[in-house]
């Protein structure tokens, strides 16, 4: 994935509708910038191959 080639405005419009999180037009440039940054950072994590045996970190203790 190349974070610069994603249509972030469309993603934000659709996703914010889905989760009912209105994003004001004045916030959109900042949100796009942050999402691009997050996407680049996320690639470092998602490209790393993990064994199936690795579980999630948080542990719930009832």
């Amino acid at each position: 994935m190349n974070a610069e080639t994603i249509y972030w405005h469309q993603f934000i419009e659709q996703m914010s509708n889905i989760i009912d999180l209105p994003i004001a037009p004045e916030s959109e440039p900042g949100v796009v910038e942050n999402l691009q940054n997050i996407a680049e950072v996320a690639a470092l994590v998602t490209e790393f191959s993990l064994p199936e045996s690795i579980e999630l970190a948080p542990q719930f203790t009832p």
Binding site: F11, I12, M15, S16, I19, D20, L21, P22, I23, A24, S27, G30, V31, E33, N34, L35, N37, I38, V41, A42, L44, V45, T46, F48, L50, P51, I54, E55, L56, A57, P58, T61
Partner: protein
Amino acid sequence: MNSNWKAADAVELTGAIRRGEVSAATVTRDTLETIERENPSLNCFTQIAAETAILQAKSIDQTIADGRDPGVLSGVPFAVKNLFDVAGLTTLAGSKIHAENPPATRDATAISRLKQAGAILLGTLNMDEYAYGFVTENSHYGTTRNPRDRTRIAGGSSGGSAAAVAVGWVPFSLGSDTNGSIRVPAALCGVFGFKPTYGRLSRSGTMLFSSSLDCIGPFARSVRDIATIFDVLQGADPGDPVCTSRPPKLCLPDLDRGIEGLRIAVADGYFAQNAETEALDAVSAVSKALNVTRTVSIREAHRARAAAYIITASEGANLHLDNLRSRPQDFDPATRDRFLAGALIPASWYLQSQRFRQWFRDAVREIFQHVDIILAPTTPCVAPKIGQKTMKIGPREMLVRPNLGLFTQPLSFIGLPILSVPIFRPNSLPLGVQIIAAPYNDSLILQVACQLERQGILRAECSSGLRHG
């Protein structure tokens, strides 16, 4: 003791109070006057609890006069980041939104324990909104200035906590650390800042940011103060679901044990790149003093930082989702867009980050089979200027806000205990070095720091410009 108490650490000050050389009431009144007079120049305090502080001080003096034990921190003034609940004050968490809440009805667990030990709470301290930042440039409550150079940031998000100790207004304070929010400001202000093992200290009564990473911890100007405060704060607490039920492991009794037999190494690779030479020189100064020649590689630290970044953005956004929906205009613009973006993160990125966390924890556990202590820089550079957007590290230009935590984030990601220790060089701003150990080996860190302090490598005096007393 005359007025020398104003530069004393907590242990020295409480000794003077117990011996009757100065009263707790005098110390409290005098400190409150100093804060009232000088706070506008640095903007550390956001709320002051003068009335209750003076009442408590008088009670301590009476206890001493009665010949009873008032506790190991008797009469020592302290302050807390404004995300700690203080009975009678509204918990701001650096926000305008939470300023509308009613006052807290009880103190956070950490504050209760410190008060039981005789410490006197003076008020609350400035921070980045909801702890999301490394700069303490808060649009609602202003910027906290660095006491070592007022044109520079104090660091964040516990900037007020670090600056108040560095300037000498209080011997110690409390902050919180999610990705470096204790260690970064401690380094930039030139004081000790301790992020204990995740889960070692109760966070009950604090406003969380990213729960699976959040810790609380102390700032101070001496290692013995850090140990004393840490020991007071230890202990199980049903109010915090992640607080350990392990029995406390007191650090103060072991402080003088030295470093003989400890296997110490300097982190190379990721932790020796992307830093100014002076930050690496600070690590060298510490390793040289300890006769450390060994290095160790923490593999995939850059991915650990990335995963911490994703988890923080996602958990933080989820915590504030209702307010992001209903009143985004009331957030600090510097944090709002980061939270909004965090709310849109795909679940698989977050989950993969949490799974990677287990992998990385296991990899670092393996390293700790062969070493006891690891040394690394705290920040890549000295405190940036207020308002500075980018910084040049070697040939690279990088953003200030996300990158001040370059070296802190991968380590807190897996809950390690870490002390940032202050390194001063002539005519230069301070820097920090992280002393890192395996989970629950907090006391080893303080032993190493104590040794360095004795050798004169570490010191955290009150800042010269505003020093009083």
